[in-house]
Symmetry: C2
Subunit: 139 residues, 2 copies
């Protein structure tokens, strides 16, 4: 009984802390949140068959060096997979998002949506125009 | 005429580069995008009358040192305003978002919404459940 009370008190303290830290967004994983890496991962999540290093470089407007560096971080975290192969006898590097990467990206996205909701609320956009904006773009 | 052609060509190259850099998200201002600062700014945009240093610290789950450091960056960029005053004879620091900060945060938010849209599209959420999610939360 004593233990149950202690557990309940521990739980309510945690809930209270969570309520107090309303805008902490702990789930905004720093590995994913960095702008260039968010760019790379969003490109890859949109191209499930993977993208060549060159295509990825253009889509994200990154230099060779920058893209390589960020891919290393993402590969080390098991978020992307890099396969070196050949296309018409030319060496080609194909990058794709892993299953674990997709899962973590989805979790990250939920928090990002929460930021957008909080902000919309704060800016008196009680009925934010997201439903309209969210229609699949024509690009 | 020659000049007009050159201008047109320059313009179409820029448009082409923009299309190629589809996922670059250049507008994700690094000053705002950093997780702790995004947390601080979202708290402040939701509290137009400003927040005390202590309340902000709790809402964002930051330490004194971290919050001070990030507030300095935000103040230097003219995104927040920090006023030292008194409340019941005790010194109190009140932080609020500036008009320029609100404008830049709004621009940032538009790009963030674009990321969410792109990702939703990439994850085969053709009709993403954002409209439901975006209803003002009860918290």
């Amino acid at each position: 009984m004593q233990q149950n009370k202690a557990q309940m008190s521990k739980k309510s303290t945690a809930t209270q802390q969570q309520a107090e830290a309303r805008f902490a967004y702990e789930g905004l994983d720093r590995v994913i949140h960095e702008r260039a890496r968010l760019s790379v991962l969003t490109s890859l999540v949109t191209h499930p068959k993977g993208l060549s290093f060159l295509d990825l470089k253009e889509l994200c407007a990154l230099t060779d060096g920058n893209l390589s560096r960020h891919l290393q971080v993402l590969e080390k975290s098991n978020l992307v997979e890099i396969v070196k192969g050949h296309e018409r006898n030319r060496p080609q590097t194909i990058c794709s998002i892993t299953a674990s990467g997709r899962k973590r990206y989805t979790e990250y996205l939920c928090i990002l949506e929460q930021v957008v909701r909080d902000a919309a609320k704060g800016m008196n956009r009680e009925q934010p125009d997201m439903p309209h904006n969210l229609a699949p773009s024509r690009a």
